[in-house]
Amino acid sequence: MSFYIPIGPQHPVHPEPLLMKFKVEGEQVIDVEINVSYTHRGIEKGLEYRDYMKGIFLAERICGICNAAHTLCYVQNIEQLLNKEVPPRAKYLRLIVEELSRIHSHLLWLGLAAHQIGFETLFMYVWRDRERVLDLLEMITGNRVVTSYNTIGGVRRDITPEMEQKIRKGLDYLEKRTKYFKKVVMEEPTVLVRTQNVGILKPREAIELFAVGPVLRASSIKHDVRADDPYAAHDEVPFNVITYDTCDVYARILVRIDEVLECINMIRYSLDHLPSGKYRIRLPVVIKPPPGESVSRVEAPRGDLLHYVKSDGSDKPYRYKVRTPTLANIPSTARMLTSRGDYIVYIADIPIIFGSVDPCLCCTGRVMFVDVEKGKSWVWTYNELVKYSRERFERHD
């Protein structure tokens, strides 16, 4: 006997609004259908109404955790339109903040992954140690998560020598802890049985379905925008592209942990080789780039991020397009969540498989206008609400 179970839009591990309808038979998942149409916030349209400087702060709010990547992508795009080169120091500072926020994102994800397989202690420890990198971000940029650091023409603050010392100390601590977490993940048998051979995405499928980021690298495809299409100071700072070839959730965890270690080395290198000079070129408040179009790519913590801008010569973008990594990963997620042949997905594996792509639904849906003026509001009884939700659930066939 098979029946449908809904995961989302409200679920303990995926607080993000997304509905996954699973057709299950006992413990086995047969089929899945993913629906993301819950939070379209209108950012692409909203950016068309804001001038270029104000757009930075809206682009920052596409996603909370990868805000550094989004602003970096945005400002690069505008700089490409303006044909302006930023000072070398700014490039290094951008890299430092981007990599710090990548450490933050990956550690946050590691904690969530531990939570998804029910490893509460690891979850608590990872999140405790993540505070350290948030402190570093706070010190450099002035806020814990939303950094507001990148701006058109450079960055907004400089790193002083005292800060540099503190960053190095914090990185030492983070490196020690990350190595410990890696040991736990690699050696704790309950973690191994929950992650190995779970959520398999073959390299061929990963390319076919255009997976991005750590998901792609865990399927042994060596693709990283930082290496293939270097931006900021990535062409000068050496690093390894981490790949693993087991193609499962375990590989995705290890890819992310190793990337954290790699990020730490990158930040150390860039602190050592930080060029002196200006960290920002001043631009006027109202920017009017020449008509044209530009594509900018950044390796966000979740994968390859693409922004496209079309300018018509005015002070606002004519069209701004954002392609976030989670959208690109949805087809491959659906693939991972479907049983086929010998590969069986259990209900118990749903959270960790879906979690292993590091989903971020607020990035994925982006346009919705709340009808303020009509002020549509009404009161529903309990039964009406139940009826409505059931109808809604049935409608997704």
């Binding site: 010190m139 002035g142 806020n143 939303v146 507001s148 736990v184 050696e187 704790e188 408040v285």
Partner: protein
């Protein structure tokens, strides 16, 4: 090589160490360290302000309004709309706007979140 119960040493070590939680809102407020340059509640210096309206123009959140008082034009700040980006402080030509380290901008009354 799998080792069951690998974390047992770590968890017992944490039994003896001090808790990581700061009992923030009611006790131990002094343990909350904020670095210099933290972007918190806006502090506005009326004497320095020259009424150039730059902050109004650059504010991405429309949290600033320009009103007139006895000395001329001046901004008021609606902290409940503020996104703490510090753009106004950056563009102010006379440094009349500063961001303090006060991050507790929660209130029952909107009027208390008005910076004049």
């Amino acid at each position: 090589m799998p080792k069951p119960g690998l974390m047992i040493g770590e968890v017992y070590k944490n039994l003896l160490s001090k808790r990581a939680t700061i009992l923030y809102p009611f006790k131990e407020r002094e343990l909350v360290h904020l670095p210099e340059g933290f972007r918190g509640r806006i502090v506005f210096n009326r004497d320095k302000c020259i009424g150039c309206q730059m902050c109004f123009r650059v504010c991405p959140a429309r949290a600033i309004e320009i009103i007139e008082d006895e000395k001329g034009k001046r901004p008021i700040f609606f902290m409940y709309r503020c996104i703490y980006c510090a753009t106004c402080a950056e563009y102010c030509p006379v440094k009349a706007i500063e961001l303090s380290t006060n991050f507790e901008n929660i209130a029952f009354d909107k009027k208390t979140l008005l910076v004049k």
